[in-house]
Amino acid sequence: MTRALLFCVLGLAAVLIQGVLLRFGLPDALLPQLVLIIVIYLGFNEISVLGTFVAFVLGLFLDFSSALLLGPWAGAFVTVYGAMAVLSSRLFIESPLVAAVIALLASVGANVIYMLLGYEYRTLAWEDLSRIIGQALCTAILAPVVLGVLARRLKRRTSPTLGRSFAASVAS
């Protein structure tokens, strides 16, 4: 549970950094999706039902920050998390190249799901396409570094899932 809270705090910090980067003049098409990188890390390292809920909550943070619609980012992040969890046994994310490609695809996927979930409530423009590609590239460039830092700092010593550690803490 402590780890779940830790990831929520990390997610809030990532939302804050993204907001500050935009405020300092970074174009929105060049914004790296830091929260998404945390979700990718969760999908590969914290495979459990609780981890799914953490990904959902991280999406809600981003939805609340936009203060427009509640749900699109939550849905997008949960889908990315699910996909990562399913693929995690087949991929070696420690390789920077693989991490970058996964982040690129996850970013495109998350943005497309965000668009689809909010399609009824907002019109789409050509600028959205450049934003998706730009954000995906920036996320891919940053992902190996952030995932490396997260892996070093948050490497668990015993059980591999959030759920198990939670169960173990309850049992103890």
Partner: protein, 298 residues
């Protein structure tokens, strides 16, 4: 073998939970679109947590914006010139700071003049953040419900209309810019007196919608708020018509509007706390006109 089956079932559980939460997201999206108050509740919570950090980062950027240029470049300068360069940089820094104060002073003076000339009552807020996803054209300001800001209030600057408050917390508020897709302003073209709704197009330009092809709108004409939407006071500058397209099979023409405000350089905004009264003699509300025209088109 047992471990493998456990692993598979754990992934299956995650997949099922993910799918369930995705369905829930879809429901939440639909529900929150009809009940914006739901978003406001969570937004207030997140804002309360994030605002102090955003204000702090804004303070850092304002007080030390030229720190890099003033000091880091001095590394590697020869000892003979070092002292001289430090003094020079200090003076430049002070000049830059004075220049920053002067610019801020001019901006605030323009806003004050605008307030006194327009007769609007309001609260001046400083922009401290932007939408973190980049998908919503919105900004965050450092004034909230404790300063009298409420959802639905208009945000303006001396150059024109900025947007509308969509969420407030005690110490901060979120403003949806008129350049966003979800935004809509009841507008009137100054010269031809044609009415329409200015909506964001996601780019730097907006569109004046629901203008029938019977009316002549020319590029360069000024677009103002009509005051009929009950949000924006009448007569505020929205922008100028940049292009008009009359082709296509629809009843309406496409009118591109270039906003008067450069949203990327917003620093202070005035939140209009006194809501404008809708003039009874101004005619039929545009919402009913749009509804009537849509029915006619169908």
């Amino acid at each position: 073998m047992v471990g493998m089956s456990e692993g598979i079932s754990a992934r299956a559980r995650v997949a099922i939970t993910s799918f369930s939460l995705l369905c829930m997201s879809l429901f939440l999206t639909a529900y929150s679109a009809k009940h914006p108050a739901l978003v406001s509740v969570g937004s207030v919570l997140v804002s309360e947590i994030v605002t102090p950090f955003q204000s702090f980062s804004e303070f850092l950027s304002r007080s030390g914006s030229s720190l890099w240029e003033r000091y880091v470049y001095l590394v590697g300068v020869s000892e003979e010139n070092e002292d001289l360069l430090v003094r020079l940089r200090k003076v430049e820094g002070e000049l830059a700071l004075l220049s920053e104060f002067r610019t801020e002073n001019e901006r605030l003076r323009a806003l004050l003049n605008f307030v006194s000339e327009s007769g609007l009552e309001g609260v001046v807020g400083r922009v401290i953040g932007s939408d973190p996803s980049g998908w919503v054209k919105g900004v965050m300001i450092d004034k909230g419900s404790s300063s009298g800001v409420a959802v639905g209030m208009a945000a303006v600057v001396s150059r024109g209309v900025v947007g509308q408050v969509v969420a407030t917390s005690l110490s901060s508020s979120r403003i949806l810019l008129i350049a966003d897709h979800a935004s809509g302003v009841d507008a009137i073209v100054q010269g031809s007196r044609v009415r329409g709704v200015v909506e964001g197009s996601g780019s730097q330009l907006c569109e004046l919608r629901y203008v029938t092809r019977d009316y002549q709108v020319k590029a360069g004409e000024v677009v103002l708020t009509s005051g009929m939407d009950g949000v924006y006071p009448k007569g505020l500058l929205i922008g100028t018509v940049s292009a008009v397209q009359t082709g296509g099979a629809t009843l309406f023409q496409t009118v591109e509007v270039k906003p008067a405000v450069d949203f990327s350089r917003l620093e202070e905004v005035l939140i209009v706390t006194a809501k404008p009264e809708v003039s009874a003699e101004a005619g039929e509300p545009l919402s009913s006109v749009v509804k009537r025209l849509r029915q006619k088109e169908e």
